[in-house]
Symmetry: C2
Subunit: 360 residues, 2 copies
């Protein structure tokens, strides 16, 4: 088992990575305030891992109820969040009860936001079961639900007490979701870690084959990057925004196509190619650089173009993104491969040109 | 104008108390990050003060839109909260836009919770327009909405940047609401400030007559007490719970009668008498002490008995209160007049006896 620490003073917490973690209740017990917990999961992950987690907790004397949500980004909304509150209140959970989110990014975001709001905050543990959530969304305390007018618009910064990334859970992950997770892994290399990018270029096929050591290495190095950024800028006033490479374009794709049609990682991959194209137009990346990024996404089986969506629709959707400040879109672009920057001066025409270059 | 500071490190903020504050946009301007704000108010307060506030802001170059909510505790729910999110998103408000809550406790709680959640947190200013919100709910960062199964169950600790208590707004406050505000003022004297209680005993009629100097004094001393407690214990791990004298009984009254039937301050007054009665049964207060508390509430025109509600119903409603820990109700009681304590050992029979003693 590998362990990393997210250094946030009194709110610091460990990330544990390895196989068989879900079987071991003693990994969780020290982080609970009482012998009571509630597991939030969904109807895909629940049948696979809920009982394993409940048995592990029972073996250390912890009684854990469960709320099973419908699966999918389309359910990342208030009515579904309220299912959690209903259960917590019906079971008379106290504010010292711990909420455990067992699932992918949607479950983690919703479980975390429910924990942030229930009685103004209850303790919370992330048990991510997808590659994407293990390397990104479970770390750093961003929680949210979607609003019909924008993704992740209603939420909170709320840190977990522990993140438990059990590589066993990736055995049941559909190929398409494994690939989507690779998009966020590649992102860390692109924005701030060239040696990791080179490692990914050398080891991508081992990841696609789900080799344990390769997965553990990729997850650890991704989480180490994320933990460093979050420790320096918890509430995204500066550096943390760099983690959003490809995300402003990507959110427009997700919202424009209807949540769930494109996986988040797929939209991020296509969005990253738009950001790379814009970076090339600004003279920061060469043609070869763009091709280097593209070929890694292609090897990972990820889209390198956006969907059928008009340029105007992109601009409209991007204008309501959280990264707008003073009416100006703040885009994350690549100054070079391995170094991202915030750029607020890209004109509408340049953005449109990049989108069109990377559209069907 | 009187000014107090809530000392919370980087999140410290001033409370300004006086007449004519709503007319003066320059009091607000230094606390805005941009020249854009959104005012959240309701359909009772809006017609009285919204235009005044918007003009004051316009005079310092600030454009402020408005969301007008339906009035009342019955609307302190998710669908109403979502009206704020709809407007913020439709107007493409950024996370640097400031939300200004103009109204009583419900508007402040909802506006504050909306600000806490919108894009994971936007700046927020409290402009309380009722006595109760000026002395209590606008200070300290507790925000929330109700859930059908419990009051204030979904919320956040989220501090404002500024609290502006304009005594002018009390001129239009109905008598019943003025009296409800007195309940929370009297509470500060009872739990930790005997000299203030004595001042209230000497000046209650001046408050009921709405004398400016008396109101300013009562508001300042109440806020000073609240600010001290909040600075010492922002998220209610200890001392802050003492502010809930009468509230666990009171919440049961509010929920049991249907939100809005009893004003919060009225329920707190009756609940405080139950807490006083239980304190007497424990041998902490004398009969004379209880009568002293009672006579102040009577002079303030506040109820000193609960409504027609069975003792079992009280216990049931109290069991889902946020003050339950390890299955044990933690009640705030009076060790003596002027000093509250947390008591977790009161048995069900003793609690029932106190409720019955103070029921019709």
């Amino acid at each position: 088992m590998r362990t990393l620490e997210v250094a946030l003073g009194a709110r610091s917490y460990p990330i544990r990575i390895g196989r068989g973690l879900l079987h071991d209740g003693s990994l969780v017990r020290p982080f609970l305030k009482t012998s009571r917990a509630v597991i939030v999961t969904n109807d895909v992950v629940g049948p696979l891992y809920l009982q394993r987690m409940q048995s592990a907790l029972a073996s250390v004397g912890v009684e854990a109820g469960a709320t099973v949500l419908p699966d999918g980004e389309a359910h990342k909304d208030w009515p579904t969040l309220n299912l959690i509150f209903d259960d917590l209140l019906r079971a008379r959970c106290e504010r010292s009860t711990t909420l455990i989110a067992l699932g992918g990014g949607v479950v983690g975001d919703m479980g975390g936001f429910a924990a942030a709001c229930y009685q103004r905050g209850m303790p919370f543990i992330q048990v991510p079961t997808t590659l994407l959530s293990q390397v990104d969304s479970s770390v750093g305390g961003k929680t949210a639900i979607n609003h019909p007018l924008g993704k992740n618009m209603i939420g909170a910064f709320y840190q977990p007490r522990l993140v438990l990334a059990d590589i066993d859970t990736l055995d049941t992950l559909p190929d398409r979701e494994l690939r989507a997770g690779l998009a966020e892994i590649i992102k860390y290399g692109l924005i701030r870690d060239l040696p990791f990018l080179e490692w990914l270029e050398a080891n991508l096929e081992r990841l696609l084959a789900r080799e344990t050591e390769a997965l553990a290495e990729a997850i650890e190095r991704s989480c180490a990057n994320k933990a460093e950024v979050v420790a320096a800028d918890e509430t995204e006033r500066g550096e943390r925004a760099l983690l959003n490479l490809g995300h402003t374009f990507g959110h427009a794709i997700e919202a424009g196509m209807g949540y769930g049609a494109w996986l988040h990682g797929e939209a991020v991959a296509a969005g990253t190619m738009m950001a790379a194209e814009l970076s090339r137009q600004l003279g920061w990346l060469s043609h070869q650089d763009v091709e280097r990024v593209e070929s890694l996404f292609v090897r990972a089986g990820l889209p390198i173009r956006g969907p059928e969506l008009s340029g105007e629709r992109y601009l409209d959707l991007m204008a309501s993104d959280k990264k707008v400040e003073g009416g100006q879109l703040r885009l994350v672009l690549l100054q070079k491969v391995g170094k991202a920057v915030i750029h607020a001066e890209a004109g509408q025409q340049a953005i449109l040109a990049a989108i069109r270059q990377r559209s069907p």
